[in-house]
């Protein structure tokens, strides 16, 4: 098995603040990998650095065997797409769903737009009835489905998911998680998923990395987490917190 994505000693510095301090990880092709940590731990920065949205100060990122430079080319975005946390902020408010989905197709010069848009909408469980709506006419879950459709329309092999369900209600969250799992199975996608919720990560991912203050604290498998085989106090704290409030 080859690594679909590998990150080697990656550093990200904003002014003088080191947001990522030499983080390394390897995600195999077809695997689903989770990143867990509190706000400010650098998990989203890592995702953004891979997507080219945060500047890498040093270290390297390799996608499907190809080392990435400072600028991402078009071919990169056909392989790697991202779904953002807030479906209220990540869709253009004055574009219809149709226009939103056409944008990546136009950029990459795809000809059969009509068919692709229909297929993408079907795949995420939105009928063609949603095609000419604006994002403000959609619910949070429907918006996140559109964002997933937009990411899938270029048929990438790697999906970067930045807290894709944390802005959604619990019942809608279950629907979106099921959709993501089904798409991954059908298209044999590689996921790199960020969440602050350990339960979601153990549900969705085989392996995970716990982060704190821009550093990797611990690498675990989902099985380790279920059987509480964790060695760091920080991870133990996260586990305890995920069990809810206990009166002292």
């Amino acid at each position: 098995m080859t690594a679909a994505l590998s990150v080697d000693r990656l550093e990200v510095v904003f002014d003088r603040f080191r947001a990522l301090k030499g983080v390394s990880l390897e995600v195999q092709s077809g695997e689903s990998f989770g990143l867990v940590g509190e706000s400010g731990s650098g998990k989203s920065t890592l995702l953004r650095a891979i997507a080219g949205l945060a500047p890498a100060a040093s270290g390297s990122i390799t996608v499907n065997g190809k080392k990435l430079g400072a600028r991402r080319d078009k071919a990169f975005y056909r392989e790697v797409q991202m779904v953002f946390q807030d479906p209220y902020g990540s869709l253009h408010p004055r574009q219809t769903v149709d226009r939103l989905l056409q944008e990546p197709l136009a950029i990459h010069g795809f000809g059969d737009g009509e068919k692709r848009i229909q297929r993408a909408l079907d795949e995420v469980g939105l009928g063609t009835g949603f095609r000419f709506r604006y994002s403000h006419q959609l619910s949070g879950g429907q918006r996140q489905r559109v964002a997933i459709a937009r990411a899938l329309i270029l048929e990438p092999s790697i999906l970067l998911l930045d807290e894709p369900t944390s802005a959604l209600d619990a019942s809608v969250q279950a629907e979106v998680l099921n959709l993501l799992e089904e798409i991954r199975r059908r298209r044999k996608l590689t996921f790199l998923m960020v969440s602050h919720d350990l339960a979601i990560i153990t549900h969705m991912c085989q392996r995970l990395m716990v982060m704190q203050n821009g550093e990797a604290v611990e690498h675990l498998t989902a099985g380790d987490l279920i059987e509480r085989r964790v060695s760091k106090d920080y991870t133990r704290n996260l586990l305890r917190a995920s069990e809810g409030f206990v009166r002292a």
Binding site: E38, A170, S171, A174, N178, L225, I226, R247
Partner: protein, 277 residues
């Protein structure tokens, strides 16, 4: 147990261009000196219920009820002046995100002092001392330093503690907490809940805890009300959540991923139109 708050057939209606929208449709419950959780998804009317009790419903909306009484005072008949006197003094409210609910151009200490001096006749020096003591009570380690900080200079958890301090300083008898920990990290969430829990039980306050997180609410509250489409679909003791009857409550409990439960795909809610009827 004395009843603090009585709500009978509360309705909140918003006029819109496409007709009247009933956000809350006949909610009834009563609250003693206990912790009551109100759970529901976005749009279920849980926050509007809290705001109607507080008197913070937008002016274009219409609030009606057979009875909405706090400690025997009819809230709907009370003058705006009387309600202002209640608000902050006897009924307090904590909002979701301290980033938006604290005044950004006023230091934290001054905001707390302002609340206190609005409701009680105290001198500047005494107010400051009481504010510092309150900051200490919400486990802020260096109260004198935090007193002079502005909200953007503190973390979310610290901001929410300051918010709790501000709400408790006038010694309210009832507190409404609307998603008080949703904007916080999981570990900080527990600290803030712990503080809230201790202060509420020490002072014997009544608490209404509004949240979308059924499991969190049931671990924190004595009693839980589940709302769907502006109505109460189920009321039960938090300890008996496992024996919930309504399919919506059971669905909400079921659809959360759990560590160690291998369920693929996750069960989803099959919404029935009769739930909203």
């Amino acid at each position: 147990m004395s009843t603090l708050l009585e709500v009978d057939d509360l309705r909140v209606t918003f006029p819109t261009r496409t007709g009247r929208i009933e956000a809350v449709r006949g909610v009834s419950f009563s609250l003693g000196r206990e912790r009551l959780g109100i759970v529901g998804e976005s749009g279920s009317g849980k926050s509007q219920t809290g705001r109607a009790i507080m008197g913070l419903t937008p002016p274009q909306a219409e609030v009606t009820a057979r009875k909405l009484a706090f400690d025997g005072i009819d809230l709907l008949a009370a003058s705006p002046r009387d309600r202002r006197a209640l608000r902050g003094k006897r009924i307090a409210m904590i909002l979701q995100d301290p980033k938006y609910s604290l005044d950004p151009v006023m230091s934290i200490g001054r905001q707390i002092v302002e609340t206190l001096r609005t409701h009680e006749k105290v001198g500047q020096a005494e107010a400051r001392d009481r504010a510092l003591a309150m900051l200490e009570a919400v486990q802020i380690r260096d109260p004198a330093r935090v007193f002079d900080l502005h909200p953007h200079e503190v973390s979310g958890g610290m901001g929410q503690r300051a918010m709790i301090a501000m709400m408790l300083i006038a010694g309210p008898e009832m507190m409404i907490a609307d998603e008080p920990t949703s904007a916080l990290d999981v570990t900080v969430q527990l600290d803030v809940l712990g503080i809230l829990d201790r202060l509420v039980s020490e002072r014997g306050m009544g608490l209404i805890f509004i949240s979308h997180d059924l499991r969190l609410v049931s671990s924190f509250c004595d009693r839980v009300i589940v709302m769907y489409a502006g109505k109460v679909v189920e009321q039960l003791k938090a300890s008996e959540l496992g024996r919930a009857q309504h399919p919506y409550t059971r669905g909400l409990l079921n659809c959360m991923p759990k560590i160690g439960a291998d369920r693929h795909p996750l069960p989803v809610l099959d919404r029935k139109p009769e739930w909203a009827a």
